[in-house]
Symmetry: C2
């Protein structure tokens, strides 16, 4: 189970069908049938994907007669990008941290059965 929204968002983005739906929605709101059309998949399957996207706040659904148009919401994406950018700089810096680390290990080794 993923309790936090960040986990839910990344999980939602991990499926190509759901990403395709988001891309489609980036050009405006769409009905479920319209979203389903490009995918070789049953309607209930699409409905489930939409529920996953809704659960983490990536889309919102409203009612208009017999249609349930979906539109995208940017907030969770922003949170995800923010999380990544927060560490990205460190990650890109740490290209050669391995070498440093190996040297550290070497220094510790020279015979020390040291705890922890």
């Amino acid at each position: 189970m993923h309790p936090d929204r960040l986990s839910l968002t990344f999980a939602a983005l991990a499926d190509p069908t759901r990403r395709a739906i988001l891309v489609r929605l980036s050009s405006g709101a769409r009905t479920v049938t319209e979203l389903a059309a490009p995918h070789d998949m049953s309607m209930p399957a699409i409905s489930k994907h939409l529920r996953v996207l809704e659960r983490c706040g990536l889309i919102e659904r409203s009612r208009e007669a017999q249609w349930r148009p979906c539109r995208i919401k940017a907030a969770p994406i922003k949170e995800a990008v923010d999380w990544m950018e927060q560490y990205r700089r460190h990650w890109e810096e740490s290209l050669d941290r391995l070498e440093e680390y190996l040297q550290e290990l070497q220094k510790e080794k020279p015979h020390g059965r040291r705890k922890k």
Copy 2:
């Protein structure tokens, strides 16, 4: 099954334990034992998480004596951020696309059992 790396990357990021590991690695390479320490979880569980991170290229492991130090790799993160940024602008713009869309639906409705 997720064939593409983007899906694998998002799936890897969807777990809090794995994100914590990445954060830890952002300050430099670490051994498996060191990475496991903060988590109330068995060693094999950590080993599996590391395999998930390795599968999508978020980390690399090497050998140094009996240790298998891990270091982070930025490339998959960059791909993920790039994917999100590519559409982020559209998403943030489409705040009120719902209204437009409802008007479109209205225009189509006025009795047309139209096939599509």
